[in-house]
Assembly symmetry: C2
């Protein structure tokens, strides 16, 4: 398939140019909205060209930096390339890049960590300033100028709508078979003009398969042929498998108790090895014909679709290993019937999450004995990645589950602590905690009742005595017994880790 | 108006009995769902009779306690009476009673502090166990057995639906003119059977004016004639007026910048003196014909309806001073055209809050320099009241505003601290902070940018140098510069207060 097959809108042919030429159209200080969600569908060429331009100009003393807005995380050739030349002044709404992370934690890059469902509307509301340029990867352009989205949708609809100028990357690496897999809903609006989102089932299509785009705003069309980041995930380790087993036991228990229907409810699953282990566990279990309504489809979700454990899956991105991507392209007609890719304002919309009653399963960094969860910060100060969509899902889900191994850093860190060093999900939003040790069901429990469950079921046995001891002393010494804390000790486990490299030695 | 006029369903006449007789129908260990929201519409007679029964039985060694579920806070003759006899084992989802608070903080009563929009659905989902008895105050019973709600709706629809037996209190103190003011929506369901809630405007009626009730479940009808709690609020003090002035300036600024329509967006307002000052300030301002979509209508809202500043108001309760209640009853036809009272699952529903784009204005106990808000805990351990609906509103609003005077306890406490001692609203959910000192607009800012704004604009000048000093030293000494904290000092202001009675002396 040639570039001409992919760019069928005639007026764009004269705007086909190199990445360097396109990058030259991005002014210093611009707010740039780039496509990309979990290493899928991000622009592959313009960011590198922009980085080279920034490096050259900054060497000449021009102080060239941009505000970089995306869907979520991208890849080294976008976040990494721009961060390495000190080209990002402000980053939002999510990142997971080592160079970005280092710069944020060195105080050299500003980072605004947002709920992923909030981003598009904040731009529409004018809360983040004007969007100057959109750089959006697509799989093709129709004869009428509409765009075939690539492997992620993210905030692309909003970037295309709101940007003053648009740079398109047309990546012929993407399968032409992606066409028809997307569902772009154009019924959103600003208050007071909003109406109900007409979706009641995860697989429902409520929009159109293409992105609209004002062709007059398109200043450059850059051809590329490069794969997505396509990370391979490790096979589930023993801890992940145990976490998955506890969770599957629990889901079956809930079905028996009549608190979940036999076909469960739509599944939301975070990314990473634990999530993949849970999915693998589901595939061996009694459930069939389930639905996923989530952010990202990884290898595990595809396996579940093939086996029939999942009947359908809705997401905003497909982020696969190279092997899974081969299978995805080979059977794309099969997957297109079962997968819907949507804007992240829809995949993460509180209205839909609450209405459809999701089972939200997300990873975390640490939880405290009262059920507060830290998803973002290391030792209270350093960012890891960001909150992503976990808040959208946890607050509004039917069931809100958070998972982690009980230990980190080779056993130096207990992931169950007296008080978390940063709170992303409050005690009011966390129903189920799972570690390889067990599962704590916190529904309907007071803080001290939760503490007993969490310590006994989720904490590693090495740290249980110290947690029990903390709780017992707090129950004697705290100024109140609702959530008893000893303020001079509450963060001492983190302090000890910072000082000695280990939380042990209590 | 006689009792017979109020209880028009013939089969109920034989079930009219005294509060003592009705209280005898509540078994030990029962989960009891009582009406009541912010001191409005709570049962007035059965709780006291139940308290007397519990006291008697416990004196005989029976260990009689109940689980008490309500809409929100009630009054001394409900929460207070039952707590004083040690009759409450577990309380949810909100309380503000001094006796309850003391027992919770002494570790003698379990308290489950829930988002108010979550309560009804948790009961439907079976997450809190079975509801044994409902005790619901109403204004009257129709000939067909349907109920005219009283001054609050709260969770009454759910209590009546879910309870195995029902005790009605028919309170002839409520104006018969309440009939027609309520809108009870019966379109909610459990997933996967949920559909969009068909509301796009705050004043819209989507249900019916009466509560349905299976008459066979009604075991007792208790006549009462007693007023609601009806607290009088103090006239706004200077601090409240300054907070209101900052907020009104900001709203006008947002209208000028095109980020708010000239008629604003629906207002949600917490309860208390600051909220009343904001409303009073609005009444002197340039806005007319506004809408409120909130939990509770207090005196201030009525004044705004009378002046035309507010065109309509939606809530789940009307909680007035005795003087305002007189006016309310005198002009009830005027108010009935402008006020809609709904179940709290609708007044606080994320779907509707997000769709209609509310301006959410809530009080807080403290905020930290990074914009995390504590709404519930004193010094990290002791409960004050509860999160109430603030999380429902803040996470989903168009604008999320939190307000407090910069000082508390006669200046011994700074309400802006290095790190809050408990988090109810995370940095991701807080856009605007206001104290009498000024207003910090946190939209689109990174944590350290937020800190500069919050310290300079919101902290009291007495504490600004110490906050600047903390931030400066954290920027040198923290393990990461995204949210720089010194873990051994982060809670030291609270520790100092516990030790010395003051945060001063840094």
């Amino acid at each position: 398939m040639t570039l001409a097959d992919r760019v069928q809108y005639p007026a764009f042919h004269s705007r086909i140019m190199s990445a360097d030429e396109a990058a030259a159209l991005i002014p210093a200080g611009a707010h740039v909205g780039m496509s990309g969600f979990t290493g899928a569908g991000y622009p592959k060429a313009v960011p590198a060209a922009l980085a080279a331009r920034i490096e050259r100009l900054n060497r000449e003393g021009h102080g060239f930096r941009i505000g970089l807005w995306t869907g979520a995380s991208t890849a080294p050739e976008l976040d990494g390339a721009l961060a390495r030349v000190d080209g990002i002044d402000m980053r939002l709404p999510y990142q997971s890049d080592p160079t970005c992370r280092a710069q944020i934690n060195a105080g050299q890059m500003q980072y605004v960590d947002l709920h992923l469902s909030h981003v598009a509307q904040y731009v529409w509301f004018g809360f983040l300033g004007a969007l100057d340029v959109a750089v959006v990867e697509v799989a093709g352009v129709l004869p009428d100028g509409r765009l075939i989205p690539a492997s992620s949708v993210g905030n692309n609809k909003t970037w295309l709508d709101q940007a003053q100028k648009i740079i398109l990357e047309v990546n012929t690496w993407h399968s032409p078979g992606l066409e028809g897999m997307h569902d772009i809903y154009y019924g959103t609006d600003r208050p007071p003009h909003r109406v109900p989102i007409p979706m009641t089932e995860p697989h429902q299509r409520i929009g159109e398969p293409y992105l609209r785009c004002d062709p007059d705003k398109v200043v450059a069309v850059v051809p590329t042929h490069q794969p997505d980041r396509n990370t391979t995930y490790a096979a589930p380790d023993a801890n992940s498998q145990q976490i998955a087993a506890h969770l599957l036991d629990f889901l079956q228990h809930e079905v028996r108790r009549g608190r979940l229907p036999p076909g469960l409810l739509p599944l939301q699953s975070g990314v990473g090895n634990i999530a993949n282990a849970v999915l693998a566990g589901l595939d061996g279990g009694p459930f069939k014909g389930l639905a996923a309504y989530t952010e990202v489809l990884q290898d595990g979700m595809l396996a579940l679709l093939r086996s029939g454990t999942l009947a359908t899956a809705s997401a905003t991105a497909v982020s696969l290993s190279p092997e899974a991507m081969e299978d995805f392209n080979a059977r794309i007609d099969f997957y297109r019937e079962r997968i819907v890719l949507r804007p992240q304002e829809i995949s993460n919309h509180p209205e839909l999450i609450r209405r459809m009653g999701l089972i939200a399963m997300n990873g975390m960094i640490e939880a405290d004995i009262y059920g507060n969860v830290n998803s973002t910060h290391i030792m209270g100060s350093a960012i890891m990645n960001g909150i992503g969509g976990s808040g959208d899902f946890a607050r509004n889900a039917y069931l809100s589950v958070f998972m982690t191994p009980s230990l980190a850093k080779g056993g130096a860190i207990s992931c169950i602590v007296p008080m978390v060093s940063h709170v992303d999900h409050t005690e009011h939003d966390v129903q189920i905690l799972v570690t390889e040790q067990g599962l704590a069901d916190l529904r309907g429990l007071s803080p001290t009742q939760r503490a007993a469950q969490i310590i006994e079921r989720c904490a590693h046995p090495d740290f249980r005595p110290a947690l029990h001891d903390y709780l017992a002393r707090a129950r004697r010494g705290a100024v109140g017994q609702h959530t008893p804390h000893l303020l001079d000790e509450a963060l001492s486990w983190h302090q000890r880790f910072v000082r000695t490299g280990s939380m042990r030695g209590v």
